[in-house]
């Protein structure tokens, strides 16, 4: 009789267990093209990644004389991420600095926490929060009108906070919406220090290996006139998962920078003038 009860409980709990099955790989990497996705690493997993953005593909700085931008490097970022548990990751990276207007030679520390994970027949979406602190090691400028004058040490820091919600609608299609706030301790005269941004990203799986990812960031602040003085960040990439924890993408983006504190406030590159560029991301997952 006791065995029958146990069997009954097991049978009853079975549909509940399958109904609550978590949805994995809404996105394959911690970044969609450049903006952060809701994905965090698994416990004790490492991710080593390199992202590269080349020079302008077309326009006065591109074309055949510059091998379509391959002769110039706009930004390079090398970083590690580490999964402290299934919902929390920490990361450290170093980037060259993409936009000539932004602070460059940065060390970036980030924390990402997953608040909700999408489940089959359960939670409808994944929700994550992300915080980034960027520290510029650039040489001090002697010009007081430069951002790099660094009158105070704290001017070397820039912060970014972001919340994003994503849903995997089918095994082929995922969509993410988010909002961000970027705070610059020092800003150009006439500009506001804080910038709010709207973020969107999507992923379309073509087959087992190939996928298309695209994302965009729209900055909003009193000094920003979008599509005039500033441009939204736009990116599209072909993502290739070669297996064994190796993810590779080839991208086209208008922004030169690879870090939120760079490409959200300082994207001025106009696609209609050929100011977009090739780039790639190499990512390798490791487990110790």
């Amino acid at each position: 009789m006791k065995g029958l009860y146990i069997l009954l409980i097991l049978i009853l709990s079975l549909p509940a267990a399958t109904a609550q099955e978590a949805v994995y790989q809404t996105f394959k990497h911690g970044r969609i093209v450049t903006i952060q996705s809701t994905e965090t690493l698994k416990t004790w997993d490492w991710d080593f990644y390199v992202m590269h953005r080349f020079g302008d593909l077309l326009g006065p700085n591109g074309g055949t004389t510059n091998t379509f931008g391959l002769a110039n490097a706009a930004d390079v970022i090398i970083g590690f991420r580490y999964g402290l548990n299934d919902n929390l990751e920490v990361g450290l990276s170093r980037n060259k600095g993409g936009s000539p207007l932004a602070l460059d030679k940065n060390f970036n520390l980030h924390l990402k926490y997953r608040l909700l994970r999408q489940k089959h027949h359960g939670t409808p979406l994944s929700l994550s929060v992300f915080s980034l602190t960027s520290f510029s090691t650039a040489q001090r400028s002697l010009n007081p009108a430069s951002l790099k004058y660094f009158a105070k040490f704290i001017h070397r820091f820039t912060y970014h906070f972001q919340a994003m919600a994503a849903r995997k609608f089918s095994h082929r299609f995922s969509l993410q919406l988010g909002a961000g706030y970027t705070h610059r301790n020092i800003a150009y005269s006439g500009e506001s220090n804080g910038i709010v941004s709207g973020l969107i990203g999507m992923r379309l799986q073509l087959n087992k290996i190939y996928g298309i990812v695209a994302d965009a960031a729209f900055p909003f602040a009193p000094h920003i006139r979008l599509f005039d003085t500033h441009q939204p960040y736009l990116g599209i990439a072909l993502e290739i998962e070669t297996g064994g924890g190796h993810i590779f993408n080839i991208s086209l983006t208008n922004a030169r920078g690879t870090v939120e504190t760079d490409f959200i406030p300082y994207t001025i590159e106009r696609i209609d003038q050929g100011e977009f560029r090739l780039g790639f991301t190499l990512s390798r997952y490791m487990r110790f």
Binding site: W44, G55, G59, P60, N61, T65, N66, A71, N72, Y82, L84, N85, L88, V90, P100, L101, L109, L111, S131, T133, S141, N143, P144, A145, S146, L147, K148, Y149, A151, K152, I154, H155, F157, Y159, H183, N185, I186, A187, Y188, S189, G190, E191, N193, T229, I268, E269, R270, Q273, E275
Partner: protein, 130 residues
């Protein structure tokens, strides 16, 4: 192994939260200084013979090895190829605001004189006419 990982986990979390909290308490809302502009002359790139900025560009930017003809980093020898840089604000930001152009490794002059800067700034303030 597990307990070592738990220790590492706690240490990293502790450092991350302390550093984040201490940095957030140091948020500033500072701006770089703005200098008032006085423009008495109608500067152009080359169409007004008395007030043109082309000689400044030739002396400090568009010489051989830098922003020369068909240069990958931007051709500043002619208005047509210079125009995108005026329009997207890069000339203003780098020459007037950041003053990191010309760069320290330039083979020509490494800084612009106050008069040259004033002329370029006035020219840009007028929309950078040809």
């Amino acid at each position: 192994m597990r307990s070592l990982r738990t220790h590492i986990f706690r240490i990293i979390i502790g450092i991350a939260f302390i550093s984040t909290a201490s940095l957030l308490s140091h948020c500033t809302f500072d701006k770089v200084e703005a200098v008032p502009l006085e423009c008495d002359h109608p500067y152009t790139f080359e169409s007004n013979d008395s007030f043109k900025v082309r000689p400044i560009f030739e002396l400090t930017c568009s010489y051989q090895g830098c922003h020369e003809r068909n240069a990958s980093i931007g051709d500043f020898t002619q208005y047509r190829t210079l125009k995108p840089f005026i329009r997207n604000g890069k000339i203003f930001r780098r020459v007037i605001e950041n003053k990191d152009m010309p760069p320290p490794y330039a083979t020509g002059p490494k800084t612009l004189t106050t008069e040259e800067l004033q002329a370029i700034e006035c020219w840009l303030a007028a929309g950078g006419p040809p």
